[in-house]
């Protein structure tokens, strides 16, 4: 199966708090991946890193085989420093045997070469991404907890702004597509209203449509129902279910365990910045292995 997103050894810290401590996961086309975990476990940060809304510290992210982020030379840095220090100390100490000195020198040189090669490669990747980040982001739609619709624009303009501005569609095409998608979520008659005239559930449905208007390959959902009144959660989840049914690749950070069990084909449990458990919803919800997951599930179910 085709991998859409590949994540390797992802690290991210804020100030001195390590939020993500080495995440590895591959996401395949058509996957509906639910990310669960206690608050502060790094779920949202993980999602935001995929979109590079957060600056990642080190690791690797690939989108459709193309690098979105690669930074491994930083991991080598401490090793390199240690080798350098060892070499220096050995040189100072006159009693060191010549062959040992040679060995240390070789070690250092090897490490340095590896480091330099990585550094150059990653610098070029960073440069390329820096130039093309906006293009790469177009392939990933994002839905936020707080909707983040543009309050000064009508619903229709919210939907068509990006496609027309980025010249992906003519204004007519964009309008047509936006209206068709609005129709599907039952909001066509609100096209000319402003976001603040809508209810929370309606806003979130519009936000999903806004991301869909860009024809993304992956949709990222960051706790899409957490800011909603309980009676509106259903309408948003229905739209997401429909989307999943059509084969859209989705990564959903959520507290809706019912949704995760019903719609997801994979669930990961993040705990303390690492993937503590991974598997099908049945495996995770019915047979949790770790104590942490057991206690988490007992609190939320």
């Amino acid at each position: 199966m085709e991998k859409i997103i590949e994540v390797k050894n992802l690290y991210k810290s804020f100030e001195n708090v390590e939020v993500l401590r080495g995440i590895d996961i591959d996401i395949y086309r058509g996957d509906v991946l639910c990310v669960i975990g206690a608050s502060g476990s790094g779920k949202s940060t993980f999602l935001r890193c995929l979109n590079l809304l957060e600056k990642v510290d080190s690791g690797e992210i690939k989108l459709s085989g193309e690098y979105l982020f690669k930074n491994e030379h930083k991991i080598l840095e401490p090793k390199l420093k240690a080798a350098k220090a060892a070499l220096k100390a050995a040189k100072k100490d006159k009693s060191t045997a010549a062959d040992k000195l040679l060995l240390l020198e070789d070690d250092y040189r090897e490490l340095k070469e590896e480091y330099d090669a990585l550094y150059t490669e990653e610098r070029d990747i960073a440069k390329y991404i820096g130039k093309n980040i906006d293009l790469l982001r177009q392939k990933m739609g994002m839905v936020f907890q707080q909707f983040n619709l543009f309050p000064h624009l009508t619903i229709l303009r919210n939907l068509t702004l990006a496609p027309t501005m980025l010249k992906l569609a003519t204004p007519e095409e964009a309008n047509e597509r936006a209206l068709a998608l609005l129709e599907r979520v039952g909001l066509r008659d609100r096209a000319n209203d402003y976001p603040n005239q809508l209810s929370g559930g309606q806003k979130q449905r519009v936000a999903i449509v806004r991301a869909l208007c860009m024809n993304p390959e992956v949709m990222l959902f960051d706790e899409p129902t957490s800011a909603l009144d309980p009676e509106m959660v259903g309408e948003v989840l229905d739209v997401m279910k429909e989307l999943a049914g059509e084969g859209m690749t989705m990564i959903v950070v959520t507290h809706e365990m019912g949704f995760a069990r019903e719609v997801a084909n994979r669930v990961i449990f993040l705990d303390d910045g690492v993937i503590a458990e991974e598997g099908s919803p049945e495996e995770l919800f019915d047979n949790p292995k770790s104590e942490r997951l057991k206690s988490f599930l007992s609190k939320v179910l």
Binding site: L53, D134, G141, H152, T154, A162
Partner: protein, 227 residues
């Protein structure tokens, strides 16, 4: 002499109306010229500051912006105007362009702080949503952040416009015949102190009222999305 005779003498017989018309024109010219410069400068400085705050490579730009705002806000406009006229543009024989530039640069510093506070007040999620759709930083700034920021700071911009209009009354220091200088010139010609000052005061007041009205109309138009 009745009041009407006095008015006739001051404004018609002694050509007072000509001074007033010229002064009125110059005051408007300086105010709007300075306003345009001020708004453009203010937006540029505010946006430059916004970007340089998150990018350490742009430290110099940030320093330039900070210095501009600090220095300009720290110097009285009259002194600034005199410096512009007698030092920087010492060879200028017409004070009007110099006054426009001086008032514009002065106003820009205040506008910059206004616009910056407006930008900072916009929820971070707006920028993130725009970026997640693939818009560049600048496209997001221009289409999403700035329109909302300007809407929020419109009342404060109105205040700045009014302050600017009234500040132009010191343009006479560099021999620009604005409304204030016009009234003092008429006083010199006629020894009528009351009427020229009263008239110029009324004109300033009328201008401020018109400005306020225009702004509130504009504000209402922008408020549509908040029903």
């Amino acid at each position: 002499m009745s009041w009407f005779d006095q008015l006739y003498y001051t404004f018609i017989e002694k050509d007072g109306y000509k001074y007033i018309i010229e002064g009125f024109g110059n005051t408007l010219l300086i105010t709007f010229g300075a306003l345009i410069i001020g708004v453009i400068l203010g937006v540029i400085v505010a946006v430059a500051k916004y970007y340089s705050e998150e990018n350490p490579k742009l430290k110099i730009i940030r320093w330039v912006c900070d210095t501009y705002v600090t220095v300009i806000r720290g110097i009285p406009i009259t002194v600034l105007l005199l410096i512009f006229f007698f030092v920087i543009f010492a060879s200028a024989d017409n004070g009007i362009p110099v006054a426009i530039i001086a008032f514009g640069i002065n106003s820009g510093a205040y506008m910059a702080e206004l616009v910056r506070s407006g930008i900072n007040a916009i929820d971070k999620g707006q920028m993130e949503a725009a970026r997640s759709l693939g818009l560049s930083k600048w496209q997001a700034m221009r289409n999403i952040i700035l329109p909302q920021a300007v809407k929020n700071i419109l009342p404060a911009i109105g205040n700045e416009c009014i302050a600017l209009l009234k500040e132009t009354s010191v343009a006479g220091y560099v021999a620009v015949r604005d409304l204030t200088l016009a009234s003092t010139l008429i006083i010199n010609n006629t020894y009528d102190f009351v009427n020229p000052l009263l008239l110029s005061a009324l004109i300033y007041l009328a201008l401020v009222i018109i400005m306020t009205k225009l702004l509130s109309v504009f504000e209402k138009k922008l408020k549509r999305s908040e029903r």
